[in-house]
Protein backbone atom coordinates (compact mmCIF):
# COMPACT_ATOMS: atom_id res chain seq x y z
CA UNK A 1 0.00 0.00 0.00
CA UNK A 2 1.37 3.36 -0.98
CA UNK A 3 1.19 6.16 1.55
CA UNK A 4 -0.75 9.11 0.17
CA UNK A 5 -0.86 11.20 3.34
CA UNK A 6 0.63 14.69 3.27
CA UNK A 7 0.92 17.37 5.92
CA UNK A 8 0.40 21.08 5.39
CA UNK A 9 1.47 22.67 8.63
CA UNK A 10 -0.87 21.05 11.20
CA UNK A 11 -3.35 19.98 8.60
CA UNK A 12 -3.30 16.33 7.62
CA UNK A 13 -4.66 15.47 4.22
CA UNK A 14 -5.41 11.82 3.51
CA UNK A 15 -4.03 12.50 0.05
CA UNK A 16 -2.66 15.58 -1.74
CA UNK A 17 -5.74 16.06 -3.92
CA UNK A 18 -8.09 18.84 -2.89
CA UNK A 19 -10.49 20.95 -4.94
CA UNK A 20 -10.06 24.64 -5.69
CA UNK A 21 -12.29 27.34 -4.30
CA UNK A 22 -14.97 28.53 -6.69
CA UNK A 23 -14.75 25.47 -8.89
CA UNK A 24 -16.33 22.92 -6.60
CA UNK A 25 -19.27 24.78 -5.08
CA UNK A 26 -19.68 23.49 -1.53
CA UNK A 27 -18.86 19.93 -2.54
CA UNK A 28 -22.51 18.91 -2.59
CA UNK A 29 -22.77 19.71 -6.29
CA UNK A 30 -20.46 16.74 -6.88
CA UNK A 31 -22.13 14.28 -4.53
CA UNK A 32 -23.96 12.52 -7.32
CA UNK A 33 -20.72 12.05 -9.25
CA UNK A 34 -18.04 11.03 -6.76
CA UNK A 35 -17.41 9.84 -3.24
CA UNK A 36 -16.42 13.10 -1.58
CA UNK A 37 -14.96 11.23 1.39
CA UNK A 38 -12.06 10.16 -0.79
CA UNK A 39 -10.80 13.72 -1.31
CA UNK A 40 -7.91 15.17 0.64
CA UNK A 41 -9.93 18.31 1.16
CA UNK A 42 -12.46 20.71 -0.28
CA UNK A 43 -11.74 24.41 -0.53
CA UNK A 44 -15.27 25.80 -0.63
CA UNK A 45 -16.53 28.74 -2.69
CA UNK A 46 -15.19 32.16 -1.66
CA UNK A 47 -17.04 33.62 1.34
CA UNK A 48 -17.56 37.25 2.30
CA UNK A 49 -19.05 38.93 5.35
CA UNK A 50 -22.33 39.79 3.65
CA UNK A 51 -24.36 38.43 0.80
CA UNK A 52 -22.82 39.29 -2.59
CA UNK A 53 -24.56 39.01 -5.94
CA UNK A 54 -21.30 38.94 -7.87
CA UNK A 55 -20.86 40.53 -11.28
CA UNK A 56 -23.51 40.81 -14.00
CA UNK A 57 -23.84 38.10 -16.65
CA UNK A 58 -21.88 37.24 -18.85
CA UNK A 59 -19.23 36.00 -16.49
CA UNK A 60 -17.47 33.42 -18.60
CA UNK A 61 -15.48 33.19 -21.81
CA UNK A 62 -13.84 30.12 -23.24
CA UNK A 63 -10.21 30.63 -24.30
CA UNK A 64 -7.56 28.34 -25.81
CA UNK A 65 -7.05 25.55 -23.24
CA UNK A 66 -8.68 27.68 -20.59
CA UNK A 67 -11.44 30.00 -19.55
CA UNK A 68 -11.95 33.46 -18.15
CA UNK A 69 -14.34 33.95 -15.28
CA UNK A 70 -15.71 37.08 -13.70
CA UNK A 71 -18.00 35.57 -11.09
CA UNK A 72 -16.97 38.12 -8.50
CA UNK A 73 -17.43 36.12 -5.31
CA UNK A 74 -21.15 35.55 -5.46
CA UNK A 75 -22.14 33.98 -2.13
CA UNK A 76 -24.77 34.33 0.56
CA UNK A 77 -22.37 35.56 3.24
CA UNK A 78 -20.51 33.87 6.08
CA UNK A 79 -23.50 33.48 8.41
CA UNK A 80 -25.53 31.71 5.78
CA UNK A 81 -22.60 29.37 5.21
CA UNK A 82 -22.23 28.62 8.91
CA UNK A 83 -25.93 28.14 9.59
CA UNK A 84 -27.25 26.62 6.40
CA UNK A 85 -24.45 24.98 4.44
CA UNK A 86 -21.78 23.86 6.83
CA UNK A 87 -24.09 21.69 8.97
CA UNK A 88 -24.73 19.58 5.88
CA UNK A 89 -21.24 19.33 4.46
CA UNK A 90 -19.40 18.78 7.73
CA UNK A 91 -20.49 15.16 7.54
CA UNK A 92 -18.03 14.46 4.74
CA UNK A 93 -14.87 12.73 5.92
CA UNK A 94 -12.54 15.29 4.36
CA UNK A 95 -11.07 18.64 5.31
CA UNK A 96 -13.49 21.49 4.60
CA UNK A 97 -11.53 24.69 4.14
CA UNK A 98 -13.32 28.02 3.77
CA UNK A 99 -11.94 30.60 1.34
CA UNK A 100 -12.01 33.95 3.12
CA UNK A 101 -12.54 37.22 1.24
CA UNK A 102 -13.08 40.85 2.05
CA UNK A 103 -13.15 44.39 0.74
CA UNK A 104 -11.33 45.67 3.81
CA UNK A 105 -9.01 44.22 6.42
CA UNK A 106 -11.87 44.43 8.89
CA UNK A 107 -14.02 42.25 6.62
CA UNK A 108 -11.33 39.58 6.50
CA UNK A 109 -10.99 39.69 10.28
CA UNK A 110 -14.69 39.39 10.88
CA UNK A 111 -15.19 36.49 8.49
CA UNK A 112 -12.23 34.72 10.06
CA UNK A 113 -13.54 35.25 13.57
CA UNK A 114 -16.84 33.64 12.69
CA UNK A 115 -15.09 30.65 11.18
CA UNK A 116 -12.78 30.42 14.17
CA UNK A 117 -15.80 29.51 16.26
CA UNK A 118 -16.39 26.33 14.29
CA UNK A 119 -14.49 23.55 15.93
CA UNK A 120 -14.06 21.05 13.09
CA UNK A 121 -12.67 23.51 10.59
CA UNK A 122 -8.92 23.18 10.79
CA UNK A 123 -7.78 25.80 8.31
CA UNK A 124 -8.78 28.79 6.24
CA UNK A 125 -7.55 29.98 2.90
CA UNK A 126 -7.11 33.72 2.84
CA UNK A 127 -7.88 34.86 -0.69
CA UNK A 128 -5.92 38.04 -1.37
CA UNK A 129 -5.92 37.39 -5.08
CA UNK A 130 -9.44 37.55 -6.54
CA UNK A 131 -9.16 39.61 -9.75
CA UNK A 132 -12.92 40.02 -10.11
CA UNK A 133 -13.89 42.45 -7.38
CA UNK A 134 -13.60 46.21 -7.42
CA UNK A 135 -12.49 46.48 -3.81
CA UNK A 136 -10.14 44.24 -1.89
CA UNK A 137 -9.33 40.90 -3.44
CA UNK A 138 -6.31 41.00 -5.71
CA UNK A 139 -5.42 44.56 -4.74
CA UNK A 140 -4.31 43.13 -1.38
CA UNK A 141 -2.22 40.45 -2.98
CA UNK A 142 -0.14 42.42 -5.43
CA UNK A 143 1.80 44.60 -3.03
CA UNK A 144 3.81 43.54 -0.01
CA UNK A 145 2.55 46.11 2.50
CA UNK A 146 -1.12 45.29 1.94
CA UNK A 147 -0.45 41.54 1.78
CA UNK A 148 1.38 41.81 5.10
CA UNK A 149 -1.32 43.97 6.66
CA UNK A 150 -4.16 41.59 5.93
CA UNK A 151 -2.16 38.46 6.78
CA UNK A 152 -1.00 39.87 10.10
CA UNK A 153 -4.47 41.05 11.02
CA UNK A 154 -6.01 37.66 10.31
CA UNK A 155 -3.14 35.81 11.99
CA UNK A 156 -3.94 37.78 15.14
CA UNK A 157 -7.42 36.32 15.36
CA UNK A 158 -6.80 32.81 13.99
CA UNK A 159 -4.64 30.14 15.49
CA UNK A 160 -5.31 27.17 13.30
CA UNK A 161 -3.68 26.61 9.90
CA UNK A 162 -3.64 29.82 7.90
CA UNK A 163 -3.17 29.36 4.16
CA UNK A 164 -2.67 32.52 2.11
CA UNK A 165 -3.60 32.37 -1.58
CA UNK A 166 -1.44 34.44 -3.89
CA UNK A 167 -2.06 36.19 -7.17
CA UNK A 168 0.18 35.40 -10.15
CA UNK A 169 -0.30 38.93 -11.49
CA UNK A 170 2.90 40.23 -9.93
CA UNK A 171 6.43 40.98 -10.98
CA UNK A 172 8.04 39.06 -8.16
CA UNK A 173 6.04 36.24 -6.59
CA UNK A 174 8.84 35.40 -4.14
CA UNK A 175 8.76 38.84 -2.61
CA UNK A 176 5.03 38.49 -1.85
CA UNK A 177 5.46 34.91 -0.66
CA UNK A 178 8.20 35.90 1.75
CA UNK A 179 6.13 38.84 2.95
CA UNK A 180 3.10 36.70 3.87
CA UNK A 181 5.33 34.03 5.39
CA UNK A 182 6.87 36.70 7.56
CA UNK A 183 3.41 37.96 8.46
CA UNK A 184 2.46 34.57 9.84
CA UNK A 185 1.08 32.42 7.00
CA UNK A 186 1.39 28.70 7.74
CA UNK A 187 1.10 27.77 4.10
CA UNK A 188 0.90 29.42 0.72
CA UNK A 189 -1.51 28.40 -2.01
CA UNK A 190 -1.02 29.50 -5.59
CA UNK A 191 -1.89 30.42 -8.25
CA UNK A 192 -5.16 32.26 -8.40
CA UNK A 193 -6.20 33.31 -11.89
CA UNK A 194 -4.20 35.44 -14.34
CA UNK A 195 -5.92 38.65 -15.34
CA UNK A 196 -7.14 38.33 -18.93
CA UNK A 197 -9.67 39.62 -21.40
CA UNK A 198 -11.54 38.46 -24.50
CA UNK A 199 -13.36 40.34 -27.24
CA UNK A 200 -15.87 38.93 -29.70
CA UNK A 201 -14.52 39.99 -33.12
CA UNK A 202 -18.01 39.84 -34.63
CA UNK A 203 -20.04 41.84 -32.12
CA UNK A 204 -16.87 43.84 -31.27
CA UNK A 205 -17.93 43.70 -27.65
CA UNK A 206 -15.98 42.41 -24.69
CA UNK A 207 -17.25 38.96 -23.77
CA UNK A 208 -17.28 39.58 -20.02
CA UNK A 209 -19.55 42.18 -18.43
CA UNK A 210 -16.53 43.33 -16.42
CA UNK A 211 -14.19 43.45 -19.46
CA UNK A 212 -11.42 41.60 -17.64
CA UNK A 213 -11.64 38.28 -15.83
CA UNK A 214 -9.49 35.54 -14.37
CA UNK A 215 -7.77 33.03 -16.64
CA UNK A 216 -7.63 29.42 -15.44
CA UNK A 217 -7.16 25.98 -16.95
CA UNK A 218 -4.24 24.17 -18.61
CA UNK A 219 -3.19 27.36 -20.44
CA UNK A 220 -1.79 28.76 -17.18
CA UNK A 221 -0.04 25.61 -16.00
CA UNK A 222 3.50 26.59 -17.09
CA UNK A 223 3.21 29.89 -15.22
CA UNK A 224 1.86 28.13 -12.14
CA UNK A 225 4.62 25.50 -12.13
CA UNK A 226 7.23 28.22 -12.43
CA UNK A 227 5.78 30.18 -9.51
CA UNK A 228 5.46 27.11 -7.29
CA UNK A 229 9.11 26.29 -7.95
CA UNK A 230 10.23 29.85 -7.28
CA UNK A 231 8.23 30.11 -4.07
CA UNK A 232 9.37 26.64 -2.96
CA UNK A 233 12.92 27.92 -3.11
CA UNK A 234 12.08 31.17 -1.34
CA UNK A 235 10.02 30.14 1.68
CA UNK A 236 9.94 27.36 4.29
CA UNK A 237 6.18 26.94 4.68
CA UNK A 238 4.42 24.23 2.68
CA UNK A 239 2.86 25.10 -0.64
CA UNK A 240 -0.48 24.09 -2.09
CA UNK A 241 -0.13 24.29 -5.85
CA UNK A 242 -2.74 24.74 -8.54
CA UNK A 243 -3.34 26.10 -12.02
CA UNK A 244 -4.45 23.95 -14.90
CA UNK A 245 -4.24 20.54 -13.30
CA UNK A 246 -6.15 18.07 -15.50
CA UNK A 247 -4.70 14.70 -14.51
CA UNK A 248 -2.28 12.76 -12.33
CA UNK A 249 0.75 13.69 -14.44
CA UNK A 250 0.03 17.38 -13.93
CA UNK A 251 -0.29 16.73 -10.21
CA UNK A 252 3.11 15.00 -10.10
CA UNK A 253 4.57 17.98 -11.97
CA UNK A 254 3.21 20.35 -9.30
CA UNK A 255 4.52 18.16 -6.48
CA UNK A 256 7.98 17.87 -8.05
CA UNK A 257 8.02 21.66 -8.30
CA UNK A 258 7.41 21.92 -4.57
CA UNK A 259 3.71 21.49 -3.78
CA UNK A 260 2.79 19.54 -0.66
CA UNK A 261 -0.78 19.29 -1.87
CA UNK A 262 -2.66 20.48 -4.93
CA UNK A 263 -6.05 21.89 -5.85
CA UNK A 264 -8.02 20.83 -8.88
CA UNK A 265 -10.00 23.73 -10.35
CA UNK A 266 -11.40 24.24 -13.83
CA UNK A 267 -10.96 20.54 -14.65
CA UNK A 268 -13.94 19.79 -12.37
CA UNK A 269 -16.25 21.52 -14.85
CA UNK A 270 -15.19 19.28 -17.69
CA UNK A 271 -14.99 16.05 -15.75
CA UNK A 272 -16.69 16.07 -12.36
CA UNK A 273 -14.93 12.79 -11.57
CA UNK A 274 -11.46 14.12 -12.31
CA UNK A 275 -10.32 14.56 -8.69
CA UNK A 276 -10.92 10.89 -7.93
CA UNK A 277 -9.25 9.83 -11.18
CA UNK A 278 -6.23 11.88 -10.13
CA UNK A 279 -6.01 10.12 -6.77
CA UNK A 280 -6.09 6.77 -8.56
CA UNK A 281 -3.55 8.00 -11.11
CA UNK A 282 -1.10 9.06 -8.41
CA UNK A 283 -1.40 5.62 -6.84
CA UNK A 284 -0.55 3.96 -10.17
CA UNK A 285 2.34 6.33 -10.75
CA UNK A 286 3.76 5.50 -7.33
CA UNK A 287 3.38 1.81 -8.03
CA UNK A 288 5.13 2.12 -11.38
CA UNK A 289 8.06 4.06 -10.01
CA UNK A 290 8.14 2.25 -6.66
CA UNK A 291 7.53 5.32 -4.54
CA UNK A 292 6.23 4.43 -1.08
CA UNK A 293 5.27 7.81 0.24
CA UNK A 294 3.80 10.54 -1.91
CA UNK A 295 5.50 13.16 0.21
CA UNK A 296 8.81 11.98 -1.23
CA UNK A 297 7.78 13.74 -4.42
CA UNK A 298 7.51 17.20 -2.86
CA UNK A 299 10.10 19.44 -4.46
CA UNK A 300 11.88 16.36 -5.79
CA UNK A 301 12.57 17.76 -9.25
CA UNK A 302 15.91 16.39 -10.35
CA UNK A 303 18.11 19.32 -11.29
CA UNK A 304 21.42 17.59 -10.68
CA UNK A 305 22.44 16.23 -14.00
CA UNK A 306 20.27 17.98 -16.50
CA UNK A 307 21.07 16.23 -19.76
Amino acid sequence: MVDLKVKVHELEFKNPVTTASGTFGFGEEFEEFIDLNRLGGIFVKGLTLHNREGNPYPRMAETPSGMLNAVGLQNKGIDYFINNIYPRIKEYDTEIIPNVNGSTVEDYIEVTERINEIEDINAIELNISCPNVKEGGMSFGISCPSAIAVTEAVREVYDKTLIVKLSPNVTDICEIAKAVEGAGADSISLINTLLGMAIDPHTRKPILSTLTGGLSGPAVKPVAIRMVWQVYNAVKVPIIGMGGIMNAEDTIEFMLAGSSAIQVGTANFIDPEVSIKIIDGITSYMGKYKIDSVSDLIGAMDVEELY
Partner: protein
Amino acid sequence: MKKIQDCKVLGVKNLNDDTYILELTTPETPEIIAAGNFAEIKVDHTPDVFLRRPLSIFDVDYTNKKISFFIKITGKGTALLKEAELEQNINIIYPLGNSFKPEANGNALVIGGGSGIAPLLLLANELKIKKSEITFLLGGRKNTDIHLFKEFEKYGTVLITTEDGSLGEKGRVTDHSIFNSINGFTKIYTCGPNPMMKAVGEIASANDIPCEVSLENMMACGFGACLCCVTETHEGNKCVCTEGPVFNVNDLKW
Protein backbone atom coordinates in the same frame (compact mmCIF):
# COMPACT_ATOMS: atom_id res chain seq x y z
CA MET B 1 -29.83 11.10 -10.56
CA LYS B 2 -27.20 12.85 -12.68
CA LYS B 3 -25.02 10.48 -14.66
CA ILE B 4 -21.81 10.79 -16.62
CA GLN B 5 -22.03 8.41 -19.54
CA ASP B 6 -20.26 7.46 -22.72
CA CYS B 7 -22.96 7.16 -25.37
CA LYS B 8 -22.51 5.74 -28.85
CA VAL B 9 -23.43 7.77 -31.90
CA LEU B 10 -26.40 6.15 -33.62
CA GLY B 11 -26.76 8.74 -36.32
CA VAL B 12 -26.73 12.35 -37.42
CA LYS B 13 -29.82 13.48 -39.31
CA ASN B 14 -29.35 16.71 -41.23
CA LEU B 15 -32.39 18.96 -41.29
CA ASN B 16 -30.63 21.64 -43.31
CA ASP B 17 -27.17 23.17 -43.63
CA ASP B 18 -26.93 24.30 -40.06
CA THR B 19 -29.42 22.16 -38.17
CA TYR B 20 -29.32 18.48 -37.37
CA ILE B 21 -30.46 15.82 -34.95
CA LEU B 22 -27.84 13.80 -33.11
CA GLU B 23 -28.98 10.40 -31.86
CA LEU B 24 -27.10 8.50 -29.19
CA THR B 25 -27.48 5.10 -27.57
CA THR B 26 -27.12 5.18 -23.81
CA PRO B 27 -25.30 2.32 -22.09
CA GLU B 28 -28.30 1.68 -19.81
CA THR B 29 -31.94 2.74 -19.72
CA PRO B 30 -31.84 6.53 -19.93
CA GLU B 31 -32.60 8.61 -16.90
CA ILE B 32 -36.13 10.03 -16.66
CA ILE B 33 -36.26 13.22 -18.67
CA ALA B 34 -38.64 16.13 -18.18
CA ALA B 35 -39.12 18.72 -20.92
CA GLY B 36 -36.50 21.42 -20.41
CA ASN B 37 -33.80 19.16 -18.96
CA PHE B 38 -30.48 19.39 -20.71
CA ALA B 39 -27.17 17.56 -21.02
CA GLU B 40 -23.58 18.78 -20.97
CA ILE B 41 -21.80 17.27 -23.95
CA LYS B 42 -18.07 16.77 -24.30
CA VAL B 43 -16.87 17.60 -27.78
CA ASP B 44 -13.70 15.57 -28.15
CA HIS B 45 -10.74 15.61 -30.49
CA THR B 46 -10.57 19.34 -31.01
CA PRO B 47 -8.09 21.86 -29.70
CA ASP B 48 -10.71 24.60 -29.93
CA VAL B 49 -13.46 23.41 -27.64
CA PHE B 50 -12.31 23.25 -24.05
CA LEU B 51 -15.54 23.22 -22.07
CA ARG B 52 -18.60 21.02 -22.47
CA ARG B 53 -21.58 22.31 -24.43
CA PRO B 54 -25.10 22.46 -22.96
CA LEU B 55 -27.87 21.04 -25.17
CA SER B 56 -31.53 20.47 -24.35
CA ILE B 57 -32.73 16.92 -24.52
CA PHE B 58 -34.86 16.71 -27.62
CA ASP B 59 -36.18 13.20 -27.33
CA VAL B 60 -35.71 10.07 -25.27
CA ASP B 61 -36.64 6.47 -25.98
CA TYR B 62 -36.53 4.49 -22.76
CA THR B 63 -37.19 1.13 -24.44
CA ASN B 64 -34.54 1.37 -27.11
CA LYS B 65 -32.11 3.27 -24.88
CA LYS B 66 -31.93 6.26 -27.15
CA ILE B 67 -31.56 9.94 -26.49
CA SER B 68 -31.39 12.67 -29.07
CA PHE B 69 -30.52 16.32 -29.51
CA PHE B 70 -31.75 18.99 -31.89
CA ILE B 71 -28.75 21.14 -32.72
CA LYS B 72 -28.23 24.39 -34.57
CA ILE B 73 -24.65 25.19 -35.57
CA THR B 74 -23.55 28.42 -33.92
CA GLY B 75 -19.85 27.82 -33.59
CA LYS B 76 -17.02 25.34 -33.31
CA GLY B 77 -18.54 22.81 -30.94
CA THR B 78 -21.90 22.47 -32.62
CA ALA B 79 -20.16 22.27 -36.02
CA LEU B 80 -17.91 19.46 -34.83
CA LEU B 81 -20.68 17.38 -33.33
CA LYS B 82 -22.26 17.23 -36.75
CA GLU B 83 -19.20 15.36 -37.99
CA ALA B 84 -19.58 12.70 -35.29
CA GLU B 85 -18.82 9.24 -36.68
CA LEU B 86 -21.16 6.33 -36.21
CA GLU B 87 -20.31 4.27 -33.12
CA GLN B 88 -18.04 7.02 -31.80
CA ASN B 89 -18.38 7.59 -28.06
CA ILE B 90 -19.68 10.92 -26.84
CA ASN B 91 -19.53 11.67 -23.16
CA ILE B 92 -22.56 13.38 -21.65
CA ILE B 93 -23.65 14.49 -18.21
CA TYR B 94 -27.42 14.41 -17.77
CA PRO B 95 -30.16 15.10 -16.91
CA LEU B 96 -29.43 18.64 -15.77
CA GLY B 97 -31.58 21.62 -14.87
CA ASN B 98 -35.23 22.03 -13.99
CA SER B 99 -38.10 21.62 -16.41
CA PHE B 100 -41.26 23.22 -17.73
CA LYS B 101 -44.30 22.89 -15.47
CA PRO B 102 -46.98 21.83 -17.96
CA GLU B 103 -50.44 22.87 -16.85
CA ALA B 104 -53.27 20.31 -16.78
CA ASN B 105 -56.43 20.85 -18.81
CA GLY B 106 -55.20 24.20 -20.10
CA ASN B 107 -54.90 25.94 -23.41
CA ALA B 108 -51.20 26.26 -24.16
CA LEU B 109 -49.38 28.57 -26.54
CA VAL B 110 -45.92 27.08 -27.19
CA ILE B 111 -43.50 29.43 -28.94
CA GLY B 112 -40.16 28.39 -30.37
CA GLY B 113 -37.45 30.11 -32.36
CA GLY B 114 -34.16 28.75 -33.70
CA SER B 115 -32.67 25.96 -31.62
CA GLY B 116 -35.28 26.86 -29.02
CA ILE B 117 -37.65 24.28 -30.41
CA ALA B 118 -35.35 21.57 -28.99
CA PRO B 119 -37.28 20.96 -25.74
CA LEU B 120 -40.73 21.64 -27.17
CA LEU B 121 -41.70 18.22 -28.49
CA LEU B 122 -41.12 16.64 -25.09
CA LEU B 123 -43.13 19.50 -23.63
CA ALA B 124 -45.96 18.90 -26.12
CA ASN B 125 -46.08 15.28 -25.10
CA GLU B 126 -46.32 16.19 -21.43
CA LEU B 127 -49.03 18.76 -22.16
CA LYS B 128 -51.01 16.21 -24.12
CA ILE B 129 -50.81 13.67 -21.30
CA LYS B 130 -52.10 16.41 -19.02
CA LYS B 131 -54.89 17.07 -21.46
CA SER B 132 -53.97 20.60 -22.45
CA GLU B 133 -54.82 21.97 -25.88
CA ILE B 134 -51.72 23.16 -27.74
CA THR B 135 -51.07 25.85 -30.32
CA PHE B 136 -47.49 26.07 -31.58
CA LEU B 137 -45.98 29.25 -32.94
CA LEU B 138 -42.66 28.70 -34.65
CA GLY B 139 -40.48 31.50 -36.00
CA GLY B 140 -37.52 31.69 -38.29
CA ARG B 141 -35.78 33.94 -40.76
CA LYS B 142 -36.92 31.94 -43.75
CA ASN B 143 -38.89 28.81 -44.61
CA THR B 144 -35.88 26.48 -44.30
CA ASP B 145 -35.52 27.55 -40.66
CA ILE B 146 -38.86 25.97 -39.78
CA HIS B 147 -38.29 22.37 -38.74
CA LEU B 148 -40.32 19.36 -37.64
CA PHE B 149 -43.63 20.83 -38.75
CA LYS B 150 -45.19 17.38 -39.05
CA GLU B 151 -44.08 16.26 -35.60
CA PHE B 152 -45.55 19.35 -34.00
CA GLU B 153 -48.77 18.97 -35.97
CA LYS B 154 -49.43 15.68 -34.23
CA TYR B 155 -49.94 17.59 -31.01
CA GLY B 156 -51.87 20.66 -32.13
CA THR B 157 -52.20 23.60 -34.46
CA VAL B 158 -48.93 24.93 -35.87
CA LEU B 159 -48.57 28.63 -36.69
CA ILE B 160 -45.52 29.99 -38.41
CA THR B 161 -43.79 33.30 -38.99
CA THR B 162 -40.76 33.94 -41.16
CA GLU B 163 -38.96 37.23 -41.40
CA ASP B 164 -38.89 37.06 -45.18
CA GLY B 165 -42.47 35.82 -45.43
CA SER B 166 -41.46 32.66 -47.27
CA LEU B 167 -43.63 30.55 -44.95
CA GLY B 168 -46.53 31.50 -42.68
CA GLU B 169 -47.00 35.12 -41.69
CA LYS B 170 -44.26 37.60 -42.46
CA GLY B 171 -42.39 39.08 -39.52
CA ARG B 172 -41.14 37.98 -36.13
CA VAL B 173 -43.09 35.62 -33.89
CA THR B 174 -44.49 38.49 -31.86
CA ASP B 175 -45.84 40.05 -35.06
CA HIS B 176 -48.13 37.05 -35.60
CA SER B 177 -51.85 37.82 -35.75
CA ILE B 178 -52.52 35.32 -32.99
CA PHE B 179 -51.40 38.00 -30.57
CA ASN B 180 -54.47 40.01 -31.47
CA SER B 181 -56.55 37.56 -29.49
CA ILE B 182 -54.48 35.59 -27.05
CA ASN B 183 -56.76 35.78 -24.06
CA GLY B 184 -57.98 32.28 -24.68
CA PHE B 185 -54.57 30.88 -23.74
CA THR B 186 -54.04 29.86 -20.14
CA LYS B 187 -50.27 29.56 -20.29
CA ILE B 188 -47.38 30.41 -22.62
CA TYR B 189 -44.20 28.34 -22.88
CA THR B 190 -41.27 29.65 -24.88
CA CYS B 191 -37.69 28.88 -25.80
CA GLY B 192 -35.52 30.71 -28.32
CA PRO B 193 -33.30 33.74 -28.70
CA ASN B 194 -33.41 36.14 -25.75
CA PRO B 195 -34.91 39.10 -27.63
CA MET B 196 -37.75 36.84 -28.80
CA MET B 197 -38.39 35.51 -25.32
CA LYS B 198 -38.33 39.01 -23.86
CA ALA B 199 -40.89 40.21 -26.38
CA VAL B 200 -43.11 37.20 -25.72
CA GLY B 201 -42.71 37.71 -21.99
CA GLU B 202 -43.84 41.30 -22.22
CA ILE B 203 -46.97 40.37 -24.10
CA ALA B 204 -47.69 37.59 -21.62
CA SER B 205 -47.26 39.88 -18.64
CA ALA B 206 -49.36 42.60 -20.26
CA ASN B 207 -52.13 40.06 -20.75
CA ASP B 208 -51.69 38.42 -17.37
CA ILE B 209 -50.97 35.05 -18.89
CA PRO B 210 -48.51 32.86 -16.98
CA CYS B 211 -45.39 32.39 -19.06
CA GLU B 212 -42.37 30.10 -18.76
CA VAL B 213 -39.16 30.80 -20.64
CA SER B 214 -36.17 28.52 -21.04
CA LEU B 215 -32.85 30.41 -21.01
CA GLU B 216 -29.68 29.50 -22.86
CA ASN B 217 -27.04 31.34 -20.84
CA MET B 218 -23.39 30.51 -21.38
CA MET B 219 -22.27 27.80 -18.99
CA ALA B 220 -18.93 26.48 -17.81
CA CYS B 221 -20.12 23.48 -15.80
CA GLY B 222 -23.88 22.97 -16.07
CA PHE B 223 -24.37 21.56 -12.59
CA GLY B 224 -24.07 24.47 -10.18
CA ALA B 225 -20.36 24.49 -9.46
CA CYS B 226 -19.08 27.63 -11.19
CA LEU B 227 -21.81 30.29 -10.88
CA CYS B 228 -21.05 31.53 -14.38
CA CYS B 229 -24.53 31.08 -15.83
CA VAL B 230 -26.58 33.36 -13.62
CA THR B 231 -29.58 35.43 -14.59
CA GLU B 232 -30.85 38.33 -12.54
CA THR B 233 -34.14 37.67 -10.78
CA HIS B 234 -36.16 39.62 -8.24
CA GLU B 235 -34.59 37.39 -5.60
CA GLY B 236 -31.05 38.02 -6.77
CA ASN B 237 -28.86 36.14 -9.23
CA LYS B 238 -29.99 32.60 -9.89
CA CYS B 239 -28.11 29.75 -11.56
CA VAL B 240 -29.62 28.99 -14.93
CA CYS B 241 -28.18 25.49 -14.83
CA THR B 242 -29.68 24.39 -11.53
CA GLU B 243 -32.52 26.81 -10.74
CA GLY B 244 -33.31 27.03 -14.46
CA PRO B 245 -33.10 26.87 -17.42
CA VAL B 246 -36.89 27.31 -17.14
CA PHE B 247 -38.10 30.40 -15.32
CA ASN B 248 -41.40 32.09 -14.75
CA VAL B 249 -40.99 35.24 -16.79
CA ASN B 250 -42.24 37.41 -13.93
CA ASP B 251 -39.34 36.30 -11.76
CA LEU B 252 -36.76 37.59 -14.24
CA LYS B 253 -35.27 41.06 -14.10
CA TRP B 254 -34.69 41.44 -17.79
